[in-house]
């Protein structure tokens, strides 16, 4: 993959639904039949993607009997508080601890990983040094490596270092993000004008000062994007905490819920309530920061 062709995507996207320079000529607009079929497909896809989440909300308010007997996609007796009590009982009061652990691991890995990725990306994009091609090649190779396969030897390594069953066993591996560096290179190339750096050098600013006061500010939006990718990848990782962490107090929410599900017949509504509460922080991040997702995916898609 090439990292060079950069500026073609950066045109402001034409707005939909208004005639303007971006609007297509009528001849390639959809015909009425095609439009109807298209809308049907899109609405069908919407139901496929959203109904399970809606069911999750409904199921989290029901007890086992209502789950089995009442219409699945609508509410019955509102049993949310019993389910909440049951969730706390099954998790021995640790549920919110697990959510807090997930926030902590993902947050620390995200901040640390983003800073390192942006530094590396800036160093690669704006400087020449011997061996640069080799380093870039190795990092991009890491992008294509099946990371789950690394988890087994990673466990052996961390076990030898005495780091298993600590929060570092999750945070350190999660902070190393080749995709973050890839985004860092792309964004540093497009968003940091070399003139500004040179002007600051002429004014006598040190390289560290240039980076921390000028470059980081210019790369602000890029850093939000990289942070999001690392945060979500860490939150969603299951195999890594499954191997690395055994104390109940150290579990992230995914691992804790898995343990709850593999108990003998737990309250299903309580499990679903736990699942729902375990994804709320991520859903909030998605809704509030979705434009940053798109800029990251666009960089990946076009450079790929």
């Amino acid at each position: 993959m090439t990292l060079s062709a950069t500026t073609t995507t950066k045109k402001p996207r034409p707005r939909r639904g208004k005639a303007g320079p971006g609007f297509p000529p009528p001849s390639i607009g959809p015909s009425p039949i095609a439009r109807t079929l298209g809308v049907l497909v899109l609405v069908g896809a919407c139901l496929y993607f959203l109904l399970p989440v809606f069911w999750l909300v409904v199921a989290s308010t029901k007890n086992n009997a209502d789950l089995a007997s009442t219409f699945g996609l609508w509410f019955a007796d509102f049993n949310l508080d019993q389910n909440y009590d049951s969730l706390m009982r099954w998790t021995q009061g640790l549920f919110w601890r697990w959510v807090a652990n997930s926030v902590l691991y993902s947050g620390v890995a995200g901040v640390l990983g983003t800073l390192l990725a942006v530094m590396a990306g800036y160093g690669i994009a704006k400087f020449e040094f011997p061996g640069k091609k080799v380093f870039v090649g190795a990092i991009m190779g890491g992008l294509l490596l099946p990371v789950a396969l690394l988890t087994v030897p990673l466990y052996i390594e961390f076990d030898a270092l005495g780091l298993t069953n600590t929060m570092w066993a999750i945070i350190i591996p999660s902070a190393a993000s080749p995709f973050g560096v890839f985004l860092g290179i792309v964004f540093a190339k497009t968003a940091v004008p070399t003139e500004i750096i040179e002007a600051a050098r002429i004014d006598g600013a040190s390289e560290a000062r240039i980076f921390f006061t000028i470059v980081l500010r210019l790369l602000g939006p890029a850093m939000v994007t990289i942070f999001l990718f690392i945060f979500v990848a860490t939150w969603n990782n299951f195999l890594l905490p499954l191997l690395m962490v055994s104390s109940p107090e150290l579990k992230p929410v995914t691992l804790g819920l898995y343990g709850m599900m593999s108990y003998f017949s737990p309250d299903k509504g309580a499990v679903m309530l736990g699942a729902l509460l375990g994804i709320v922080p991520l859903v909030v991040l998605f809704f509030t920061l979705q434009r940053y997702w798109r800029s990251g995916l666009a960089a990946g898609a076009v450079k790929g």
Binding site: I124, L144, F238, M261, A301
Partner: protein, 312 residues
């Protein structure tokens, strides 16, 4: 996007070349490099090394009775993994999973992206977000949710399906798991394709329309060929993701014990390390991981090569 503003002032790229500045660039890279060595390089070396050793109890001698010591066994672990029937059965399941799931997911992602890019609906942002939402659900939690959705007493839709429909039946369960993965990742891939579509200059469409092209022709002759790079990368990453399939089968196994501890190669590797299947220990587990990495790499290389050949 705030990024667009700065991009416009971009001048022809000029890098600074002097000895001191060169060292500066390396120093910026160094912290990540250290982490990279710890998290990527050392584990690769560790897995090769530990695949070459087996842990055996040293009978007496210097180390005393039951203590475990590493004994060099050469390629024995790798040969054992490569001749393990359970490993290849798992690989077969994973291959079947990938053959169904990857085309389905990439195809629908592509199709949905094309639909959203063809001026059929006005509220593109709503659909985009709705399709992307499942990606916010961690794979394990999605698997738990679908496992309940497949369970006869719990499922809200099973009663409307023909009698005897069983999502957990041995020959159906792979498709049920393929559906979980498809649900989670289709929207993510669709966003990648949508981004690639929006990078296509709109003038191309006007030129095509002037030549009398229909919307369908624009999609098949211009849009799809121009998305090849993005699709190739998405398929490659999906192949790599499928080889290490773990979350979905582990969750399904917790409600369907018959699936066993070795349903996929990654489960086999994990349970080898945990001592729940024989041969167990870090040696066999590393050997399985290595073998899977080799297979994944070979598959990805073959696919990328075949695509390049076709493109020329």
């Amino acid at each position: 996007m705030p990024l667009t503003l700065e991009a416009k002032n971009k001048s022809p790229r000029r890098s600074v070349r002097s000895g001191r500045k060169g060292l500066t660039g390396f120093l910026f890279l160094l912290p990540f490099l250290v982490l990279f060595v710890v998290v990527f390089l050392i584990p690769i070396i560790v897995s090769i090394r530990s695949a070459l050793f087996a842990q055996v109890a040293s009978g007496g001698g210097l180390y005393g009775g039951g203590e475990l010591v590493d004994q060099f066994v050469g390629l024995d672990n790798l040969v054992a993994a490569a001749t393990n029937g359970a490993f290849w059965k798992g690989m077969g399941r994973v291959a079947l999973f990938g053959l169904v799931q990857i085309p389905l997911m990439i195809g629908s992602g592509l199709f949905l992206a094309l639909l959203l890019d063809s001026f059929i609906v006005r509220r593109v942002a709503f659909f985009r977000l709705a399709f992307f939402l499942p990606y916010a659900v961690p794979g394990v939690i999605a698997a738990m949710m679908w496992a309940y959705l497949y369970t006869p007493q719990l499922s809200p839709f099973l009663e409307y399906l023909p009698d005897g429909t069983n999502f957990m039946a041995p020959n159906v369960i792979i498709l049920s798991m393929a559906n979980m993965t498809t649900w989670t990742f289709t929207g993510y891939n669709m966003l990648i394709f949508l981004a690639a579509l929006q990078a296509i200059p709109r003038e191309l469409y006007e030129a095509a329309a002037m030549d009398g092209a229909t919307g369908f022709q624009v999609a098949t002759r211009i849009k799809i060929p121009l998305m090849r790079g993005a699709a190739l990368l998405a398929i490659l990453l999906s192949i790599i993701g499928t080889v290490q399939l773990f979350n979905e089968p582990v969750i399904m196994q917790s409600v369907n014990q018959w699936m066993g501890n070795d349903y996929t190669p990654m489960m086999l590797a994990y349970n080898s390390l945990m001592g729940q299947v024989t041969p167990s220990g870090s040696g066999p587990a590393s050997a399985i991981s290595l073998l899977m990495a080799i297979i994944a790499g070979a598959l990805a290389a073959i696919y990328a090569f075949a695509q390049r050949q076709k493109g020329e």
